[in-house]
Point group: C2
Chain length 215, copies 2
């Protein structure tokens, strides 16, 4: 262990080698294609051309593998903070609509749906931290982007709200409504995806009606 000096990592501080990242990639693919039942240790080993022994050496047990998959996927998603430019009414609306559409696209993604299904399935037993991980790494991340945008809007005098979380909750609800749950339950996402743009615009309009500053 100590002799290994230059362990090449996929990501700074992730502690994963390229090989292990590739294995997790295959595991995610298996999960997306066949659900949790298809995600067996033997299946992952076969798909990734590695041995089960290596899986257990790297990730401890099956739970560790699942956690690593979530962490790995989260590490790949980078939310670009465009908190830069100055805002007017039009650009704020554009930014909000873009955010809303991105949010819908993320939630409707194959990997996101599969991981959410996995974490929800594990949520029944106690001690499963998968749900908490997904919440922390996923929502907190995109929530920060929204929070920064809302805060910038308030700074520019375009938005009026007391509680930032409450405003974000309203925006989220207006955008997502029950679509996320419906997709998790298996409703064909193709038909829903077509309406994402229109839905994002309507939701942002409603949000601005609620929280837009009176002029």
């Amino acid at each position: 262990m100590q002799s290994v000096r230059a362990m090449k990592e996929t990501d700074a501080g992730s502690g994963l080698t390229e090989r292990q990242g590739a294995v997790l990639e295959q595991a995610l693919r298996l999960l997306v294609d066949g659900g949790e039942k298809a995600l067996t240790t033997a299946g992952v080993a076969r798909a990734a051309n590695c041995s089960k022994e290596s899986l257990y050496k790297w990730f401890g047990d099956r739970e560790g593998l699942l956690s690593a998959m979530i962490a790995f996927q989260a590490s790949k998603v980078r939310t670009l903070d465009v908190a830069g430019a100055k805002l007017d009414g039009g650009s704020l609306r554009v930014h909000l609509v873009t955010f809303a559409r991105d949010l819908l696209d993320v939630l409707a993604g194959d990997v996101s749906l599969a991981l959410n299904r996995l974490a929800i399935g594990q949520a029944s037993r106690e001690g499963s931290k998968l749900g908490h991980m997904l919440q922390e790494r996923g929502r907190r991340q995109i929530g920060r982007r929204a929070g920064a945008l809302l805060e910038a809007g308030r700074k520019a005098g375009l938005l009026a709200f007391d509680d930032s979380d409450e405003a974000y909750g309203a925006l989220y609800g207006l955008v997502v409504s029950d679509w996320h749950l419906r997709m998790l339950l298996g409703e064909e996402p193709g038909r829903l995806k077509k309406d994402f743009s229109r839905r994002a615009e309507r939701a942002v309009d409603a949000f601005l009606t609620l929280y837009g500053a009176k002029e």
Copy 2:
């Protein structure tokens, strides 16, 4: 079969005997307590003091048992339609807040969460109609109550909207936001439940701001 004349049923047209209903009750309890993994055929048979053979005779296979559980639970929930009385601004708000709070209570219920987790877990494989069943029996039911309420509000000149589904979607989103998903992911529901009343009122106020008729 034909010789059985008076098969005592728990519910008109459900096709279930009292005994079978009791078995499903125990199965639901097992599911709530221990999640899907705890819901084994042997476990259900033991908990309900029946034989596995009877389970397979009555429900066909495990999938049939799950479907029967969902249908059974749905048959127990009766949404009272209070489409009667005349509405003014105050009573409409009261009705909406009551609806919102009921919605949050239902979604936060043990059995609801367990069944949703179950259906979501099964949603990965194709051909699983559990998600569709839950959607149809659950949401459609409570959606009708909301639709009737909204329609009554519009009839009384208190609400203004073109698309009833869109208005309901906005109400749902404002009320629920991401709380349902967070509860499904295992977030302690106790802490969330305390705020249900305040949350319902805030959401209804926002909804009335969006869809209340200008006077």
